[in-house]
Amino acid sequence: MMSILSVTGLRKEYKNMTAVRGVDFSLPEGKCIALIGPNGAGKTTILRILAGLLKQTDGAVTFSGKETNADIRKFIGYLPQYPVFPSWMTAREFLLFSGEIAGLTKEEAARRAEDLAEQVGITNALDKRISDFSGGMKQRLGIAQAIIHSPQLLLLDEPVSSLDPIGRRDVLTLLERLKKEMTILFSTHILNDAEEVCDELLLLHDGEINEAGSMEALREKYQTSVIEVEFQENRQRYLEKLKQLPGITACTLERQIIKIPVADIAQARKEIFQAAAEENWPIIGFNLNRASLEDLFMKAVKK
């Protein structure tokens, strides 16, 4: 697959700490990639380096087919986590300004501003001062300004973390749509958001990339499922019995439900059903839970 951007050996040291400890990754073109990690993992630092706002201590960032010393800002759109706008401007003025400094002509910028305002849903507020905007509207304006020059790569720093559920939904839908036009890299510490729109994941922990790949591949790799069995009575007794079944190594009783993490679902299910049938266990619920992204994340981080 063509990669639009590749990063090798990227390091960033501050005076008294290392924020990024030598990461390598590449962004496949046309995909939506999530940069996931807990707070302080180095997500913002990486995005800022890619956007050209910070200089790396070491390592290289190459934009596909571009000279290393070319101004790659032209091909990149960026939205910081807490965008600060010149609040005395109207949204239209700011979009025009952003477009023009990004190299659009006045007419192009005006047309793009109208278009994008509609796409992100701020048409009605276009001529209002930004100081009157709500958080959600600012975030939409932020996305609009980031893509006004039709960049090939869109970098978003925690685009939905600070939004209410409705705003979050809108932005995710918008990303879903933008995915068709450009490569998107966004950072988040909220796993569900990543799961929803992303094709690829980069798991960042403590300045290092612990895991990278497509969502499917990662799921497969960290596949562990949990079988949940619910008994009508004598839970403790059956817990002991379950523990003795072959292929079951650990099980716990949590809120009336016995949870059994298993590697081989088919095998474990067979054992349980067999024993249940022979001894007529009073099972009232049987559930199979596949690993969530969160489990996957915890696993990768603890590795």
Binding site: R73, Y82, V84, M89
Partner: protein, 259 residues
């Protein structure tokens, strides 16, 4: 060039919405006009507050037009400069501190265009305010004392204006060095004070120092001949400004634009 225009337009609009285009000229006019006018009405003012004690003989000094414009200039040189430093201390530093710069500099903006646009927009405000205030001073001085010949006045306006260009450029320079507007203001003012003190201490050797601009220009008004020292100071000032601008751009290019 087009980027520079766009950026300048944004700055001017910002200063306009901030009402800076209104209050800065007004304050400067007050500063420039206050001393000549109050000096003229000093006898009446003294009378109004009870007058001098009986028998006191106080001879009003004969104030010439040049004396009067010197008063205006000394006001602009102190409080005027303070105001210019205050309006310029956050022009880049504040934008970087707040994060606005992050949105601008992530676009393919040339750093030169960015710095130069800040400089231009600030200079426009400062110079317009300065010229307007001096015109007011010239008019009032003409009405109350005597008119300074317009040619002489324009020359004074030009040479003394260079001093303000230096102040603005210094402020822009410190704006690229520091991220805190307060530190920018402090450094700018400290530099100006040091320059003035050093110049007055080594007056002979530093005859071409920028802070001699007003002295030389006023000297010209009195004698009517343009001295080499005036030209020398002007050339020094312009050179320092150019150097500072280039240096600012260099510093800005090597800086990181997010914390």
């Amino acid at each position: 060039m087009r980027q520079w225009q766009t950026l300048v337009k944004k700055e001017l609009l910002g200063n306009f919405r901030d009402r800076k285009w209104i209050w800065v000229p007004i304050v400067l006019i007050l500063l420039a006009v206050m001393d000549p006018v109050s000096n003229y009405y000093l006898p009446q003012i003294l009378d109004a507050v009870g007058g001098l004690p009986d028998g006191a003989i106080y001879e009003m000094p004969q104030v010439t037009g040049i004396d009067a414009i010197t008063m205006s200039i000394s006001q602009l040189s102190s409080l005027g400069i303070l105001i210019f430093v205050l309006i310029s201390m956050g022009t880049i530093a504040g934008e970087r501190k707040s994060g606005i710069a992050e949105l601008i500099l992530v676009k393919p903006v040339s750093y030169t265009a960015y710095i130069m646009s800040k400089w231009t927009a600030l200079l426009a405000l400062v110079l317009v305010s300065y010229i307007v205030s001096m015109l007011f001073a010239w008019y009032y001085i003409g009405m109350l004392y005597e008119f300074i010949p317009i040619g002489d006045f324009l020359l004074l306006l030009f040479f003394y204006g260079l001093w303000f260009i230096l102040v603005v450029t210094l402020s822009i320079f410190y704006n690229t060095v520091f991220r805190s507007p307060g530190l920018v203001a402090f450094s700018t003012i400290a530099t100006i004070i040091v320059l003035s003190v050093v110049t007055s201490m080594f007056g002979q050797k530093l005859n071409y120092s920028p802070s001699n601009l007003s002295n030389h220009a006023l000297h010209y008004l009195q004698t009517g001949d343009i001295s080499g020292a005036l030209i020398g100071s002007a050339v020094t000032t312009i050179s320092i400004c150019a150097l500072l601008l280039v240096w600012s751009i260099y510093i800005f290019q090597t800086k990181e634009h997010a914390s």
